[in-house]
Assembly symmetry: C2
């Protein structure tokens, strides 16, 4: 293991150990010196944003954007990767000062897929999976959560999603389960599904573990991805709601417009979100 | 003259005629429908940002960024252009819904250069020049301002500038002259020259006609261009100061980092500024 990676893991462990909130949420590991692009809410990127790029290209874009948190998508690190491949990817991220704070979105349609996802999370060294287990796998997923002490943040995917269109569809199925089962609130898809974001954040605050941050052109099925600030989402209200619940997770931007040439839109989106946070501070 | 250009000029004229503030400052012509990327302060781009690109490329980038105001730099429309060339450039801008609200920065080191600049402004159809006349040409420049009813906004260029390092160096030389002589406050160079931006905006409010918006890494000669929000300038305080004086001009972003590949940095900078304005609204 390279020294940088070892330091990263040690510091991450210290950071997680030091949190005073719900022990498995934790603020994403503060493994680097605070810089000018860090605000009250840490900004990350959901790996799907770079679906058209390989890991090296994704890292180069993240460095340019000065983003330090990544939700690793299987495109960049396949779920059944061997130890060498995982080490190689983690070393590249550590060298770029990028904290791979979670993995996903991982779709789980069989017990084997659930097993694979939790084994993958353990090998990658994250304490949370952003995933989508089918309803009939929720009992088994809960067993795995307990057995591995790994959180799962279930992702909502809008009106077209037969399982979890909005955050309520997630929450109602996990609210009486292990507290390590929660939500990855995708604010774009939630808006398209008719959810009130501020209410969802308030109502589900104890189970809100991750966020996919984006903007959409309409609060309906027809809503399309657009640069943050140009769409219908009220980011001022969103940030206020997150600060009110003292949200301890990452705000991972997921940009799904111009996917073959995302830098301009990503940069504008991240700039807008940073501007909002800076204004608010 | 193409119909679009004729409409543009007519609407511009109406917009300028309708301003109730100082008649020659005027809010930049509102010739298009208000959209989601317009806030309390209109955002433009200083043409020098696109020094490495031709006009068509510059327009394509502005459209992607949804920016509607341009300070035309001579790189994209040479000062001694003939009528056909000027018409061609104005038609391209009008087709892209871009308002060329001023020209500059134009350096003037001779009476001929002053004559050329004012003739150019008239031919382009703008009522303001962003320029840098030498001290000995200020009297002659003032005569031209009176004769042509065209404003001049003198630009400060930081500690290396022998004439106008900071805004005080401009203001002190124009404060007793015709009121149509004022400042284009370059906030990056002003910061590098040691100016207090909020104080400058307040003190020179009656002569503040244009802004070059950017960020710098240090409030000293060594300060370099950087994405807005990552540097030392307090944009929250800046926007507050501009709103306090009810600034009626354009905030033209001038991005001087990564000049051969400026889109990511431009987009981040504009996103940050928009996020600040949206938060503030």
């Amino acid at each position: 293991m390279p020294q940088s990676r070892r330091n990263f893991i040690q510091k991450s462990a210290l950071a997680f150990a030091g949190t005073t909130s719900f022990p498995f949420i934790g603020k994403a590991a503060a493994f680097h010196t605070k810089n000018k692009t860090e605000y009250s809410l840490p900004i990350g990127i959901a790996g799907y944003t770079f679906a058209k790029f390989d890991l090296d290209q994704a890292i180069a874009m993240m460095k340019r954007l000065d983003i330090r948190y990544l939700s690793i998508k299987d495109i960049h690190l396949p779920i059944n990767s061997n130890e060498d491949k995982i080490k190689e990817v983690l070393a590249k991220l550590a060298a770029a000062n990028i904290n791979p704070y979670t993995v996903g979105v991982i779709y789980m349609r069989s017990k084997q897929a659930v097993d694979d996802a939790f084994a993958y999370a353990k090998k990658v060294g994250v304490n949370m999976i952003v995933g989508v287990p089918t309803y009939d796998l929720l009992d088994y997923t809960e067993q795995k959560v307990k057995a591995t002490n790994t959180k799962i943040a279930i992702h909502n995917h809008g009106p077209e999603d037969a399982l979890y269109p909005g955050p309520a569809d997630v929450y109602n199925r996990i609210k009486n389960r292990d507290a390590r089962m929660g939500l990855c609130l995708d604010i774009g898809h939630a808006t398209r599904a008719g959810a009130n974001l501020e209410k969802a954040i308030s109502d589900y605050k104890n189970r809100l573990y991750d966020l996919h941050i984006k903007d959409v052109t309409a609060a309906s099925k027809e809503g399309k991805a657009i640069e943050i600030g140009r769409g219908v989402i009220d980011f001022k209200a969103l940030i206020k709601a997150l600060e009110k619940i003292n949200y301890k997770g990452v705000c991972s931007v997921e940009f799904e417009k111009d996917m073959t040439d995302p830098m301009a839109g990503m940069a504008e989106s991240i700039g807008f979100f940073r501007g909002m946070l800076a204004c608010n501070s």
